[in-house]
Symmetry: C2
Subunit: 369 residues, 2 copies
């Protein structure tokens, strides 16, 4: 059989597994706040745009298949899937098709190195769907053709498939010496990251275009920059200020080698809104139902303190740092982080008030390019 | 939504996870020998009975979905899935439908406590299918209605959903004092095990009848007794002779309490051929394409020695014994096993020559009871 691209090559930068004090499972409330904030927007998109009569007429006995791409280990993925299913059920009810509500099958997908054992052990007992896990990179094909009705991805597409190779190449003008990200780096580095994002997003959209049925929907959530805003004024720059500068401090004290820092870059990218819009339009398989920037904190959401920020950053970066530097530097490094965060608390406060989160709703159209 | 029975209650008696020296992954060649032996029988059943034209006409763009129920961690499950897919592709070729070969999606299913992380990390890179894992007991529903085309289960249905409660009840005539299985126990114990098997097999067949499409097929492999043969002359009795008597020896030496042995029973059952046949016929959803006993060792398969038998028994029983007795007794217990196996080597030799393995091929008929 041709055409099955079982893409296992992209490098995983996994969230911290298990359910210990530094695990992603215990430190993902930062990501959850925003899930709560977008719930009503997802509800609205499903109510207005999901064409359930089309699904029903073409595949009468077909279950409704939903994928969470980059699900990590919960609990956020369980909340998102529950919200989406409730919105779909509501849609069936509102169209007088209560008796036609299909069975739901949810595919929890993430890198092969994701802790699926922990994920499976914590699937809510009162769920109203059949559970499956799908290991692999979402930059390749993960599902058979036309087999999904709804795909969701939250805080995952900001992870590139790999560090752009130029930034690790001493002979390249994009060599990112002494830095671990593009947040405060020279233009060539920013361009290398941006080009990698373009390649990855093209792969992502191509794969999903094949996997989603006509009329199928996709919701994407990720950090994003308003057109014209400065990278140096965004959360992205914090990674360099907080982790990068701590690592360089440790290099200067001789605790780690400078070469080791030079060869480490974090593979995340926050696109500008126009970059995302252009990539979707160029793909030609999806119509844009919604594409907008939203503030992360809406209403009475508590403001994270230095300790909370440290825990969030640790849950998301510890495993990747450990893979590169070894586990012996972890405690020393994360002891340094709170002081660094405190130094930039004014910037964090500014960013918190801005609309920095991208919320996208796409619909798979019956037109192949 | 009603009708989704996410059955998580049956108690798992898991195979040893990971890939260490005592793991199931490293000690499942006993089970594999037979997979090789039945390959040609599965090929034949698919060639003769799989109605691919029916699938093609009803669901033209549908992927072909296969489930391995009780897959454990490989490598056996990967070999079985590869064999089945190759046989299906051959069928398409032989019917001149080469260009219509569908995409395949394989669902690896086992208890939630199965080591899916190890399973996912070892899926063959050259596979020609999309991979998914499904956690849960196959005695309940695991998949949406009419969503599977082929279900396979090898050496898994011999594991009951639970120890029959009567055998642990001091006030029941079926109390199995001083024994850990029904192999050499009184009639009431055998009947309690048999009744549990009937309940479990009914649940299994009911669930699969809902999940398989009309025309879908199912292959089942498990230990079985020829009608009229004696349990005492079967492999089943070895569990008692080897593990049960070792535990009782340890109880008599005061290393564990006798109460602890009384409250431990291994939840496996090998049905008589007629029991299995009756249950399938009573279910009314499946036609029997093949139901026969096969000798485990065919041709030039090497004869396992005492050490090999010990490793097989350990990989399959260690986790369940550990859960009940604690890990501190494991080394002492498995040091005793080789001597016990040697004592019964004549019986093992006799059994090896007999047809003691059930091979069943079923087809989902378009008739609901």
């Amino acid at each position: 059989m041709e055409g099955v691209e079982t893409n296992a090559s992209p490098k995983a930068f996994p969230m911290k597994g298990g359910d210990g004090p530094h695990s992603y499972a215990k430190n993902s409330s930062y990501q959850r706040d925003f899930i709560d904030a977008v719930k009503s927007m997802i509800d609205e998109a499903i109510a207005d745009k999901l064409d359930i009569k089309h699904f029903y007429s073409t595949t009468s006995s077909c279950p409704f298949r939903i994928a969470d791409l980059g699900c990590s280990v919960g609990p956020n993925t369980f909340i998102s899937m529950k919200n989406i299913i409730e919105a779909i059920e509501l849609k069936y009810n509102s169209e007088g098709m209560n008796s036609k509500i299909p069975e739901f099958q949810v595919f929890f997908s993430d890198h092969t190195s994701n802790d699926f054992n922990t994920l499976f052990a914590s699937v809510p007992p009162d769920r109203r769907y059949f559970t499956a896990g799908v290991p692999g990179s979402f930059y390749g094909r993960l599902f058979p053709k036309s087999s999904l009705h709804f795909a969701h991805s939250s805080y995952a597409l900001n992870w590139l498939s790999r560090v752009p190779k130029e930034v690790l190449d001493k002979d390249s003008p994009a060599w990112n010496k002494g830095k671990i990200h593009y947040g405060s780096a020279k233009n060539e580095v920013v361009e290398a990251y941006s080009a990698q994002f373009v390649r990855d997003m093209e792969s992502f959209l191509n794969a999903r275009a094949q996997e989603l049925v006509y009329g199928g929907m996709m919701t994407l959530i990720m950090p994003c920059l308003a057109n014209g805003s400065l990278i140096s004024q965004s959360f992205t720059t914090i990674i360099e200020h907080v982790i990068g500068s701590s690592l360089m401090d440790m290099a200067q004290m001789g605790l780690i080698s400078e070469d080791k820092v030079d060869s480490f870059n974090i593979p995340t990218y926050s696109p500008y809104l126009y970059e995302m819009e252009k990539l979707i339009e160029r793909n030609k398989c999806f119509s844009i139902v919604k594409l907008e920037l939203v503030a992360r904190h809406q209403g009475n959401v508590s403001i994270p303190d230095v300790q909370a920020y440290t825990m969030v950053i640790r849950a998301v970066t510890e495993e990747g740092i450990k893979q590169h530097f070894g586990s012996e530097i972890i405690e020393e490094l994360f002891d340094r982080i709170p002081r660094k965060i405190a130094e930039f608390s004014h910037l964090l406060d500014d960013i918190r008030k801005k609309a920095t989160q991208l919320f996208v709703v796409l619909k798979r159209e019956e037109s192949d390019p």
